[in-house]
Symmetry: C2
Subunit: 352 residues, 2 copies
Amino acid sequence: MTISDRPLRIAHVGPVATTIPPPMSGSVETMTWLLTNGLVAAGHDVTLFATAESVTRAKLHATFAKGYRDDGTLWPWELCEMLNLAAAVERAAAFDIIQYEAVYYPISLAFTRLSPTPIVQTLHHSPDVAEVALWALYPEAPLIAISNGQADLLRGLNVVATVLHAIETDRFEFSPQSSDYLLFLGRFTPGKGVVQAIEIARRTGMKLMLAGAENDYYRQHVAPLVDNRQILYAGEVDHETKVRLYGGARTLLYPVQAGEPFGLVLAESMACGTPVAALDRGAVREVVDDGVTGWVFDSVDAMVDGLGRVMALDRRTVRDRAVQKFGVGRMVDGYVAAYRRILNSVPVPHTR
Amino acid sequence: MTISDRPLRIAHVGPVATTIPPPMSGSVETMTWLLTNGLVAAGHDVTLFATAESVTRAKLHATFAKGYRDDGTLWPWELCEMLNLAAAVERAAAFDIIQYEAVYYPISLAFTRLSPTPIVQTLHHSPDVAEVALWALYPEAPLIAISNGQADLLRGLNVVATVLHAIETDRFEFSPQSSDYLLFLGRFTPGKGVVQAIEIARRTGMKLMLAGAENDYYRQHVAPLVDNRQILYAGEVDHETKVRLYGGARTLLYPVQAGEPFGLVLAESMACGTPVAALDRGAVREVVDDGVTGWVFDSVDAMVDGLGRVMALDRRTVRDRAVQKFGVGRMVDGYVAAYRRILNSVPVPHTR
């Protein structure tokens, strides 16, 4: 068998902040979990480098009993993440490829020229120009982008593929009938646009449910606007509650201010059949099929005016498109194709 | 020639926050500078991994034009430090030993098993039990302690030597005659004991000069006590001013609250002939020769009572003992002996 068709030996180095999957929320942990299990399901030989309490269909290599978010004595967190990646690189000869996606910045670069096996890093944020200039010290290091918008920011680096995130569409059940509220779900930061979401609710006279972990920004800027009649706050929610909130919403509001490289809540909402109203930033147009799974707007004013069009979208169609677009199988195929591309471009594997 | 007597090929990986030596203060940068130049003077083949504007007698390998403290676009700093160390490890075959001392926690561990050349890290802080437990994932990684007090904290790890820091005794000129004030010099933190120093000055009726960079702690807790008559503040001082302040002081007050692994200001003060009054914490008893270069006390009360004994010490003797104890040659000999010990304990060098 050639590298083009045989199963691959993959080291997947996940974050060690907590378990895989995460106890509550955690997009990187969730993506790690889905990709690892998906790669196993596709017949590959996968070793997950994660904390000992993680649950996975792959082999598990645990450097740490608990994560540094669960065990406060483990610090600094950067050292923990480095040692987890080092554990995989030390065993590099046992793998065809090392997949990294734990730390938001590419610590994998430091190991690129020390590993006999290629290390590919998936990036989870939108880097600025200075970050990309720094990373260009290792122009050969393979990167996987999570949207074309993000890939555009990575110009000059070795982006081997763009693979959109997946979600577990089975666990985001379709809700044919919604209730009467709008939904904002996510971290409370200026960039996520929660204040704009409240403005939109007030101007359209609709109820708005907020969900996310309480933080300083929430206490200072959001809590004073929560009146428990029109603007409601559900706290940080577990998966079950999250799905119920998505399913009951007329529309997910996504008036994002800072460009995001993906937007998981968009995909999750769609999977429950709930169309989205999103501002045109970052990867929004790649995630949202304009006029099918939601509408993309240029401004808050336009979103207020167009909200009726969003609510009129067919929930069944929204769900079907989400299932087709964000399935785990599609993501896994994208990753495996990227791995094979990397391995084919490395004519003779390095030897130590 | 065997490894026991031939000159060594040494990679010295310094911090990349700023230049080597540092423009103002910076103990790690200063130690890096002294050790590198001292190793060159002793006939070794040294390559310093530092920023391009650094000045050294060694060969210079610069991954970065400027440091991340001087160029705000370089971040996160952890990645910069990792890439600087990686640059040395990538070239490991050209060296007998890699000396690391840039980051306060041992990021060198992550490279320990990937480098064909031993990496030895000097630690600059006093680790707690949890840190040492984490580092014990790499029990073989060689460490150099800067005092026996610090080495005690590192139990279970591979401490190959304790080497006290050196200072440039020529640049801390002897002052035979002092003025009439006490001196506190250092960072303004609760651990350094600046508030206690002020208490001691007030209770003994002596003037106290404070020197150090203004920070939040200074503004909140120290500035209200500065009356510009008895308690004076000189700001952050350059080398020349620092030497003048040391030389004019009757005594350096070092009522340190948290255990420090060394205490550079003690050595610097002594080199200028100024005896020290220190609380018995951390490495104080290793740095101060009790009754010769200063007196060590158990409490602030005891220090108030005993200050006369400190001021009565002979300044010439203080200076002479400091020159003998903190010379660069002595430090360099200690490092080279440690390197040879490491190399002799590695029977056959790893090959890639």
